[in-house]
Symmetry: C2
Subunit: 478 residues, 2 copies
């Protein structure tokens, strides 16, 4: 095989995004994948986790049935085996869809572990392949401390959780980033007694502040949370009664003064880019402590070389929609005569807890307080949220004091995933709070909470807000 | 009492909106209300209906419990008495909130039926009051044909439905506008055998077309629907078994060849403005067949007079948020030295069926087909919707062929109320489909369905869509 135009290493979300762009422009490409084909998102990420959350969320709603006038909710049971079987069934459907693109490629899709041999060469399965450009999209894997290897049989990650045939009665969740948080709440709602440990004081990627506090307060009604100390694991014997661990052996998790003995621990300490053994050192460019070269996010290019590093592998923004964009940008640039820069999207991240956590636009901890005005809405008293018996949570919006432009949002709110999309569009379209207040807010919806927070900002900017008709109305052009 | 600055007739959403603006500017006002204080929305509209829908929706979800891995759903029961009691409890809370503003007004809040005696005079309870400006916001009532008066004991409207202590086993719903549609589905889900009649072929205010067809197809799984003929009512004896009607007397509803004998009929034929006996004829301006004068929606003024007609009473857009705007505009103008024109919001209407129905922006039946491009998304196959087992529905977007600006949307979709707010903001901000495709769509969310429809439009506009990188990426400024 001669030199091809592009080799793509990795057939996850980023690799497939690259493949889509490359295929539109050339037939001369190879895609190499190590391990199972099908994206991480579909196999062990977004999709199975949301399927688990869906079952947990529905089951949880039985608690409001009496208030709504529905009886018999106390007879509802979770069949955890059936829940997990459904998670896998749904997952398998999504995986097979993500495989459609590569299943038809014949010899241009190679299974095996690829290794760079310099900017234009890749070795796989003993063969050396040559390409004008190479897209590296090798993804990431759950981070598990080396020291915990002796307890591997009692550890779960999202790679293994959804393969389980049942759920333990007691579980520790180590790490309350987005994934740990989602799983901790969902497993608790499915009847697992969950104890969560998190080294930081902020959870789910939030900045320190009222939204983090509100989220913690609410989550603590559902699970035990220990913050502020790194968790330590040691082997422990389980108490005799109800022991379900491997041979009665369990784990002791300690963090500061807190400790618990449990059957299994779900390790959710983030993800590590899959670049070990990839041969990045053959590129002749500096690598950081993670073994990663510098990557320009607007091009995905590595140091002027015909090498592009996309998706979780570049450790930039580990979100599916950003990985897809990474793929498209790197695919476009891999076949282009000259590398183009692309604008990136308005930041948006969502954690599918209930209520949803989300961050939009500029992070609250990155803002300049003297240039910023903050508006809030609390959902405890919000009309529609009360009606739905989902009335908990807090929304905070930031706007620029100079021009009233909405700059960022943090929220822990009912229907938060939807509010976050509205806010992301508002920021993307460079809207001021005054103009946003002229958009329609239907009654009764949770979106009325957006208006509450926007009005609070507008009131703090009297110089910009005109004659008092501002929250509602604009005068049409003469 | 001398001449006051403003008399507001009606303390509903529009009247209270006017009151809020007037109070900021003068203490010289009177507000008059006939019947119970508290807005129609809170008493018999948005709020109790949504509370009923909430119970119905939760109960309905038991049907997906087995698929999710939850057992015992077959033991769930609706206690309709308890459901209705909760509806009233929630309703009472919202009503008391809407009464807060007027409860403190003392003599400036008058209970009674007001009648105009010309542009500056109002008669109430035998007194004549004078004002520089008058805001008429008398609201509306359910439309019930005069000929059906003999069966009044067997008819329900939204004025009486929520006062019931239980629900009949069989019910006809006459009229499938937004209210009829919401109640028909909710009552069916609460166990009532519902037969619905609708004179038109389009339901819920939709235009004729695929969204209407999709909505009808789905709703017909839950209730019997007869379209295309006006319903006729006659007295009928109920079959002996299970008869619960007043004294065994029921109703026969016929429409074309269809007919049914039921215990009660919910009449949902729209609402009639409360202007009978209001004395509009004393203004000396032409009145239409509904008895209404012409009103400028940008000012709410009647024919250059110091008279403003706001909310449902003007029969323009019978939606709560538009009535509130009407109130604010009329209140502002009632105290202003000269009348100002105000821009109105991007049209947004939502019907809280499941899936939600919504219309945004320009109506589909008002568009110029040769200037329009349409994009669709079907939710049967949409990722997140499948995961939630809410995978049904259709979204259609319209854009301008010349510049790619999004102009309107019709949808019957999961989380449709939220998609509709996003679309309303997009249209409000005069966005093109190309720019909207550069906003973030998180994975996995129903908002990805928006992207599907936007991409379909963009592909039909190759002249505008650039070099193929369009759906995702913009090149940053040099």
């Amino acid at each position: 095989m001669g030199t091809v135009d592009v080799i793509i290493v990795g057939a996850g979300t980023a690799g497939l995004g690259a493949l889509r762009e490359v295929r539109k422009r050339t037939e001369s490409f190879i895609i190499i994948n190590d391990g199972p084909w099908g994206t991480m998102c579909a196999r062990v990420g977004c999709m199975p986790s949301k399927a688990l959350i869906e079952a947990a969320g529905e089951f949880h709603r039985r608690l409001v049935f009496p208030e709504l006038g529905l009886s018999g909710g106390e007879g509802l049971r979770v069949d955890t085996g059936a829940v997990l079987a459904r998670v896998r069934k749904v997952r398998d459907g999504f995986v097979s869809e993500t495989r459609e693109l590569t299943d038809q490629l014949g010899e241009r899709a190679i299974s095996g572990r690829a290794r760079l041999r310099g900017p234009g060469q890749v070795e796989v399965g003993g063969r050396v392949l040559e390409a004008r450009s190479i897209v590296l999209a090798t993804g990431s894997r759950p981070t598990v401390p080396e020291a915990w290897r002796p307890f591997a049989d009692r550890l779960l990650t999202t790679d293994s959780l959804f393969e389980e045939r049942g759920l333990p009665s007691r579980l520790a969740v180590v790490g309350l980033g987005p994934v740990g948080l989602e799983m901790a709440q969902a497993l608790a709602r499915l009847g697992v007694q969950v104890t969560a440990f998190h080294a930081a004081q902020t959870i789910g990627g939030l900045s320190a502040g009222p939204v983090n506090d509100a989220a913690l307060e609410l989550l603590r009604h559902e699970l035990t949370v220990h913050l502020g100390h790194e968790a330590q694991l040691t082997a422990a014997r389980l108490p005799a009664a109800g022991s379900e661990g491997a041979n009665g052996e369990g784990l002791r998790v300690t963090a500061g003064a807190a400790g618990v003995v449990i059957e299994r621990a779900l390790v959710a300490l983030g993800r590590t880019p899959n670049v070990q053994g990839l041969g990045l050192e053959t590129l002749g460019v500096p690598l950081d402590e993670k073994g990663l070269p510098e990557v320009d996010r607007t091009t995905l290019q590595v140091a002027g070389l015909p090498i592009f590093l996309a998706g979780d592998a570049n450790a930039e923004v580990p979100l599916q929609h950003e990985a897809a964009d990474d793929g498209h940008i790197s695919g476009l640039n891999a076949v282009a005569s000259s590398v183009r820069r692309f604008a990136r999207r308005t930041p948006l991240s969502i954690v599918f807890t209930d209520p949803n956590l989300a961050q939009v636009g500029q992070r609250f901890d990155a803002r300049a307080p003297d240039r910023t005005v903050v508006g809030e809405a609390r959902f405890a008293d919000q009309g529609r949220s009360r009606m739905m018996l989902r009335n908990a949570g807090l929304l905070r919006l930031c706007a620029d004091r100079e021009d009233g432009a909405l700059t960022g949002a943090e929220l822990f709110a009912p229907e938060g995933e939807h509010l976050a999309h509205w806010l992301a569009l508002a920021i993307h379209r460079r809207s001021t709070v005054f103009d946003l207040l002229r958009a329609p807010f239907y009654h009764p919806t949770v979106e009325e909470g957006l208006r509450t927070a926007l009005v609070e900002i507008a009131k703090q900017l009297p110089r910009l807000s005109g004659d008092g008709a501002f929250p509602l109305l604009s005068t049409p052009g003469a």
